[in-house]
Symmetry: C2
Subunit: 352 residues, 2 copies
């Protein structure tokens, strides 16, 4: 579903080169490290710091997004943010992105302008330059591939593999909201399909719907940690759910973990909606994806530094690998944690 | 059409994480600048030189490739090479790549292994590390997005915009072959569809078919130029045809150009097949795409250096922009050159 289709310019009118020029005309260079942006065979970046960090992600219509309820501007914003989140998870600061786009001819130039509005907004918010890309056609749907580049001092990089027994497990922000936002949007889509005359009522659900449609990368947390001299021992961004990410850290660090259910932050809207859907809120927090918060571990020596960090929750502790990965529930039980994650190959594909 | 389908493992058996692990298990790190490859939120690259060069390209089944006649191993090889070609065109040396893949469930794990065989082979041939990527599903077909990263000293970078009046226009290798290779493959596909029992006979066409299926990036030319101390004034790789690329250089350098038809190298196989297809061979050289040779300009002061460069042809001269872009034909005529290029939005899509 495309929006605001007052004017519809066919992409053929601009041609491939014309389209790229048109969509990137407002792309200003913000970073002094961007020596050459779009317009040559490759972008040229000055190496100001010791290491460059690179991450790439692909978003596919019908798998990762449904244009029935995702405005194109939000989609563009999100496509950038999810990649910046990966750079942040390395304890690095994102500096440049490239965007490649495969689109079917059902998208007008105006629709792509909306997409790029979101892309440009995200670049502006995070002070990142769009330095390259490719635009091509595809028989059906849309595929967006983003590569993000960041910079850090070599000693500042944080891997998934550095968690040690005794480390404190920390999470930024609240979890499960993005998943419940998606459930709400899916429900409204069904209602719309059955009764198009009914207007969606999302008044009280702004937080969870917003978390799904317009996620943010926790660059603020990375910046804060640098300011207070806190370097996590391990870090990962939560794209597939807390449980799945904790498994990655434990596997790569060769440790176990225990997590206290009561310490995990769940937004009241998320809690309420989970119950309304008949799901345990903690299940959404553990296995719902797309929150893009940071999961990290810190040495107990850094307790004072992390304790006063804004919007950070201390949810558990790293234990020997033999102790496994467990959840201590509010009712006093201990459950082995399962990594469900989001497996896009198993998932039923969204219909369109 | 998938090949060697003796064993067919469904991708669901491995899951998304399992699939990435499986396909990248042979990915060894060759570059000392690759501090961290696949397996974390992002790759970490050491900045050994002064600048980093980044380029990205997307290949879409049915638009950029037809699996009816493109073996998956060749496709993987080509997907890497076309991106390395962009890095070379900046006068930089490629060092790392990321590969993102969207695939429909009609591809088996074995088919993807073949694709990665080609990807790994290209990485090996060009001494480049595969440092990241994403694997996801798509409803139909295949989309491959590659980002290539290279390194250079800041002063060595060559842009499209540096051509000056009086500069000599040079091209590596022969042109038009990849386009004619494609025509041969398309013809054989039609014959196969009409009479599947007829075996294709490509015996005498190894050069042009090879140029289409297994192109190479001219890293050898970039290395040679560095060795003899030759820095072009402008450079671009020929992906859309000589005419189109020359237009890019002239537009960005604000100059004109004249090209001598007789100086353009056309392989005998290409010449013969062009005539058989009823096309002027020079048209194939000017407007056929995918040769991935380098088009560059050098100062007349560097004539001696470029004259003895292996596999380089001096095809013309940069002139004032008012003189336009012209072709001096073998018959003594002067024609204004037209930039047709390959416009994938205008092209009839390959049927599958």
């Amino acid at each position: 579903m495309e929006r605001h289709e007052i004017k519809r310019t066919d992409v053929n009118e601009l041609g491939e080169f014309g389209l790229i020029d048109h969509l990137t005309v407002d792309t200003d260079v913000k970073r002094s490290s961007t020596l050459k942006s779009i317009g040559d065979d490759a972008a040229v970046l000055k190496n100001q710091n010791e290491v460059t960090v690179v991450s790439t992600d692909m978003l596919v219509e019908g798998i990762h997004f449904d244009l029935m309820y995702t405005p194109l501007k939000h989609l563009g914003y999100k496509a950038i943010v999810v990649n910046l989140s990966d750079i942040c998870a390395m304890n690095a600061i994102p500096s440049q992105v490239t965007v490649s786009l495969a689109i079917s001819n059902r998208y007008s130039v105006e629709a792509l302008e909306e997409l790029y509005e979101g892309i440009n907004l995200a670049c502006k918010m995070y002070n990142v330059d769009l330095v390259g890309g490719d635009t091509t056609s595809v028989n059906k749907g849309m595929v967006i591939s983003v590569t993000a580049i960041g910079q850090a001092k070599a000693d500042d990089i944080v891997y998934r593999s550095g968690a040690r027994v005794g480390d404190i497990i920390c999470v930024t922000g609240d979890l499960g909201s993005a998943y419940l936002g998606l459930q709400i949007l899916e429900r409204e889509k069904q209602i719309y399909k059955e009764s198009p005359e009914i207007q969606p009522d999302l008044g009280e659900l702004d937080h969870i719907v917003g978390r799904q449609l317009k996620p943010e990368a926790r660059m603020d947390s990375v910046t804060h940690m640098a300011k207070v001299g806190l370097k996590p021992t391990s870090m990962i961004d939560i794209s597939d759910g807390l449980a799945s990410e904790l498994f990655h850290i434990c596997k790569q660090s060769n440790v176990g973990a225990y997590v206290e259910e009561a310490k995990i932050s769940i937004h009241p809207q998320a809690e309420e909606q989970a119950i309304a859907f008949g799901i345990n809120p903690i299940t959404c927090a553990l296995n719902g994806g797309e929150d893009y918060e940071l999961l990290f571990t810190v040495s107990p020596d850094d307790l004072e530094k992390v304790k006063y960090m804004p919007d950070v929750f201390l949810i558990g502790e790293i234990v020997p690998s033999g102790d496994g990965i467990t959840l201590h529930t509010t009712s006093g039980n201990v459950h082995p944690l399962k990594s469900q994650g989001w497996n896009h190959f198993d998932e039923d594909e969204l219909d369109d």
